[in-house]
Amino acid sequence: MPATLHSDSPLVPAIKLTGVSARYEQNVVFDDLCLEIAAGQFAGIVGPTACGKSTLLKIILGIHAVSAGQVELYSYPVNKVRPGTIGYVPQLGSVDWNFPVTVEEVISMGLYTNGRIWPWLSKQERACIRDLAHRLGVDDCLKNHISDISGGQRQRTFLARALINNPKLLILDEPTSGVDIKTQHEVLHLLGDINSGGITILLTTHDLNAVASHLPWVICFNRGIVAQGRPNTIFTNEILTKTYGGDIVIVKSEGHLLIANSTPLNFIDEHS
């Protein structure tokens, strides 16, 4: 029988990976990985393209089999976790925006875990969707087709689908990609608010500056954990160079971190 998770103790890690190895056929993605994310944490995984971030997320989500090791969520094996315990927001780039669904229909997909077989929504379900949409600021566009809303509203729609079951753990794949800086800030701010309500959040991103300014915990990843900790302690030249394999410039100004690659500003002039 699937386990219902009750433990809210911060002593119980939300995510615990022990000696986990992942492969795609003969290719090893990572080997003997150990990772713990504390309950209530708001953590981001950063790393270069094809470093295994998405595979790591899929393993935590229970949709990619491990070739060795154990994955536990709140002390339960990942395959025994009750559906609805994890909320998941996929990369928006993978969504088919021509699919005939409205914002309301997307959010209602999350209600599958209720076990209700009727295709239509009950009054209670409708009210639940309306309340959550109102909280996330998409209540005005519930009847809109998903392609008829802004990038920020799209992210909030998928966030609403992930949150509709009141999950304990929220996992997001690249929530800051494909949106402008202002929307990035809004999304991360919103995630911060959700996290302060007690939900553990783990996300992947390429945006180091957004991570530095919004996330309290970062994992630098490249086919294994390079380092993890608070952004202001682990965002160093040495760690980022080791993670990304190229020179990175870090500027500290008035308590803020600004991270860029070391490409000189006259690069375009020299190559045009």
Partner: protein, 277 residues
């Protein structure tokens, strides 16, 4: 009014009308998922595989439907297995598996000429020769499709839209895919005598594509597509009677004409909206 009532006096036409209504409705319903899952070519392929099975079935003195069903399911199973590891794409797998099964049927027909008429009926449809047994099978398949689609609506919608997230939310997506393949195979086989192998795919796809032009909402698309499938089936039958053209062909041509008209709806709707603002 007389042109509507006159053909109903004939029993063969009443059978044909009922068959076209049920095949059209169930094809319209299942066609929504066929189109949205990018499986438009599957219906076409499965009908070819089924015909190979039907011929083997008849050779072995079995029922037409038994052979078609066995081969259709075998084709669906092999296609699902071949494409599972993503090395071979769906269209390639359908092409190789179903054409081989169809070729087997043609080879047997060319060797044994005694059931050539049956084979032609399955190729091009023989809606005016629909028996009560055919009607019963079509009715059962339509009923089973409707009930299953109703019960699995949420799982089918979620897994069609976002298969990966559906798994995270506890949907057994592999089982959903198998169930869908089963329904599709049954629907295709039930349509064989009505529409014919060569035109089954259009009855699955055209109503769904028409409905897509009319709405952006999934629930509306499902309802519209089912109604469009049923109406075009019935209207196609009447047109076939009036113009004395083969019924399967007329249903398909009418269905595709309706789709052509529906393509005008979206630009008109957008123009109307822009005038309002």
């Amino acid at each position: 009014m007389e042109f509507l009532l006159e053909p109903i006096e004939y029993e063969f036409f009443r059978h044909a009308l009922l068959a076209a209504l049920m095949v059209g409705a169930s094809g319209g319903l299942i066609g929504v998922y066929v189109v949205l899952r990018g499986m438009s070519y599957v219906g076409h392929g499965l009908s070819h595989a089924a015909i190979g099975g039907a011929v083997i079935g008849i050779t072995l003195n079995l029922n037409f439907y038994a052979g078609a069903c066995a081969m259709g399911l075998l084709a669906a199973f092999i296609i699902n297995k071949i494409t599972k590891n993503n090395k071979i794409k769906l269209d390639a797998a359908i092409g190789i598996v179903t054409t081989a099964m169809f070729a087997l049927g043609v080879a047997i027909v060319s060797k044994m000429r005694n059931f050539k008429q049956n084979f032609e009926a399955a190729l091009f449809g023989n809606i005016l020769g629909i028996t009560e047994q055919d009607l019963m099978i079509i009715g059962l398949v339509a009923f089973f499709t409707l009930i299953t689609m109703f019960i699995t609506y949420r799982a089918l919608l979620f897994s069609t839209f976002d298969n990966e997230a559906a798994r995270v939310f506890g949907i057994k997506t592999d089982s959903v895919q198998w169930l869908f393949s089963l329904l599709l195979t049954f629907s295709v086989i039930a349509s064989l005598n009505v529409i014919g192998v060569t035109m089954v795919a259009a009855t699955l796809i055209a109503p769904a594509m028409t409905a897509r032009m009319l709405t952006d909402r999934f629930s509306s698309m499902i309802i519209s597509s089912t109604i469009i499938g049923a109406v075009t089936g019935v209207m196609g039958m009447y047109l076939s009677y009036i113009f004395n053209v083969a019924s399967g062909t007329t249903i398909v041509l009418f269905s595709v004409s309706v789709f052509g008209l529906s393509m005008l709806v979206k630009p008109l709707r957008n123009a109307y909206r822009s005038r309002q603002y």
